[in-house]
């Protein structure tokens, strides 16, 4: 399988390309990036061709799939063009920044017979899978509620520009957890209430977001999507999912398999992740799906439904009341 990276605007691209390199039957044949300096130096490092314009890259025959890591607003055009060019697509989350564009993307991949997977690596965490198995085997009793966080440090750059990211912390950090909750419950969000604001940093987007969700099956959940980790925090952030069931409580801290590391040269303390490489597991799964012609495990529709909750949260901030889903577009 031959793949290409479309843009390194999202820093996850640096991890994804490393993961692709580790997979024996995958070859990275090209990189496209609007940022010529960034793209060229990466193309040199990985020994691939470089294109400033991704449309030129898509004309190449020796590209079976693309990984889209552009700014959120650019996902739509890149995914549709890639589908037209007959390339399978792994697209960074969130799928896009509004529902019409996400639907156009899903329509395009269906029309041109390619696959679109949304990059939700948390689905591939061994802990997350372990709990999914326990739910499926009904070991935990009926689920009653969730209390979740996806915290991070304020990322800066285009992430805080609404015109490029489609929002701030809520757009960035709602969807990972939301995807897991939908997967666990087999139910969609029916009401979303949110509080959110710019409270911690001097940035043009919200840095704090507390979402309250009621699912169609009556189960309720909260997601704290805030960029609330200080710069001095010992790790990038967290994905924590606490689940209350008939039989008790399961607390899952997806990124807490860590070492404590203290270093005098940098006068810093940090937590070093030794857990599973979820990006690698996700990409292996994606490659295996497209190679064997199986449907991908995390679809464009999954991406759309997770993003819809973030969009509902923004509407709730305006209305100061719960918003009913599905959203009218």
């Amino acid at each position: 399988m031959k793949g290409a990276i479309l843009s390194f605007a999202h820093m996850h691209a640096y991890s994804y390309i490393e993961c692709l390199k580790k997979i024996s039957d995958v070859e990275i044949s090209a990189i496209a990036d609007e940022d010529t300096d960034r793209g060229k130096s990466l193309a040199d490092r990985y020994g691939t061709r470089f294109y400033k314009d991704y449309q030129d890259l898509l004309k190449e025959e020796d590209v079976d799939f693309v990984v889209v890591c552009s700014e959120n607003v650019k996902h739509r055009d890149m995914v549709i063009a890639s589908a037209q060019a007959g390339k399978h697509i792994l697209c960074e989350k969130p799928i896009s920044v509004d529902i019409p564009s996400a639907k156009e993307m899903i329509d395009a991949v269906n029309r041109y017979g390619v696959q679109l997977q949304i990059a939700f690596p948390v689905r591939f965490s061994p802990s997350v899978r372990r709990v999914k198995d326990m739910i499926d085997r009904k070991e935990l009793g009926n689920i009653l509620a969730f209390n979740c966080t996806n915290h991070g440090k304020m990322p800066g750059g285009w992430f805080v520009e609404k015109s490029l990211a489609g929002g701030g912390a809520i757009m960035d950090h709602t969807v990972h957890v939301m995807d897991i909750l939908r997967w666990y419950l087999g139910s969609e969000a029916e009401y979303v209430y949110a509080e959110g604001d710019t409270l911690l940093q001097n940035i043009p987007a919200e840095d704090t977001g507390l979402l309250s969700i009621i699912f169609e099956n009556g189960i309720f959940a909260t997601i704290d999507a805030s960029w609330s980790r200080p710069k001095s925090f010992p790790i990038w952030g967290d994905v924590n999912i606490e689940m209350v069931t008939e039989k008790g409580v399961v607390e899952m801290e997806v990124f807490s398999q860590t070492l404590e590391f203290y270093n005098d040269k940098s006068m810093s303390a940090s937590w070093i992740d030794w857990g599973a490489n979820m990006d690698l597991l996700m990409i292996q799964n994606f490659i295996s799906s497209i190679k064997n012609g199986k449907p991908v495990e995390v679809t464009g529709y999954d991406g759309l439904k997770a993003m819809e909750v973030a969009l509902a949260a923004y509407r709730s901030l305006e209305l100061k009341e719960p918003v009913k889903l599905p959203l009218e577009v």
Binding site: A145, L200, T222, S228, V244
Partner: protein
Amino acid sequence: MLRVGIIGAGVMGRTHAECWSRLEDVKIQVVCDVQVERAEALSRTYNCDVSTSADDVIKRSDIDIVDICTPTPFHSEIAVSALEKGKHTLCEKPVARNLESARKVVKTAREVDVKFMTAHVVRFFPEYVTARNLIDQGAIGIPRMARTKRGGQYPLGRWNDWFSDVDMSGGCLVDTGIHDFDYLRWIFGDVERVYASALTWRRLEHKDYGLVTLRFKSKAMAQVEIIWAQPPGTPFNTGFELIGTDGLIAYNSQDSSSLRIMVSNGDNIVQRAESPLTESPYLTEIRHFVSCIEENKEPSVTPEDAYKALEVAIASLESARINRPVSVGGDI
């Protein structure tokens, strides 16, 4: 010598009695409970009188302090009577089950010349006090966000299973959430609105759980979690994160205990964590109340604080019922 009458000999009455007994210039004069055997058990330990009537205790001329440790719905009426009879009054939280009753307590407390305090004991727990002192010193810049967690197993084995009756206890949000509402008010000031989800209204047997989002007048926001859903035997656990413009303070009781005990006595295997202190926060709280009486000072938890914490709790319970945000901040 201050003489105290304890009304209610349940879990909190027993906890308080032990604390009162440690103070040198205080005597437990009488313990009262409708279940006389519970009062008698305490009277044997502390060598005091027994009563089954709160009214009789309040009327006694040899009582200086009334300590109300009854189930919630009886707090306010006893408090008002005790204050009117000129007794210093320490009242378990919540000060009342509804705002109208709480208002009467506040009004009475402000009219009389004795001390009144609601036992918001979290303000005396060293981890919570240390965090607030750090914030006071500007350690995290301007405090803007919080997450709190409190709970464990369902409170079982109480008089008439009164915690199961939402009209009496208010469920986990009113009974237990009020601790965090009070603590967060202590740091962030008055609350503007709340949104809550809870199992309370589903009336599941011996299971309750609530999640409350608070928005403060200062624009700060907080997520409060109250758990009465862990299996029996789970130790009580708490945690918080306090986040400001310059930093974050985090605490989790499960991670910061100083003792882990793993021993076997024959077939009996003991595995537990402990976190011993120089003195119980309940004793610190009662010491503070006594010092306010002796030195004629205002207790650190004011009647208005007790009212406002209850107001947040009642608003949360209502929000969970109607699935809509509820405004807080009416006049007392």
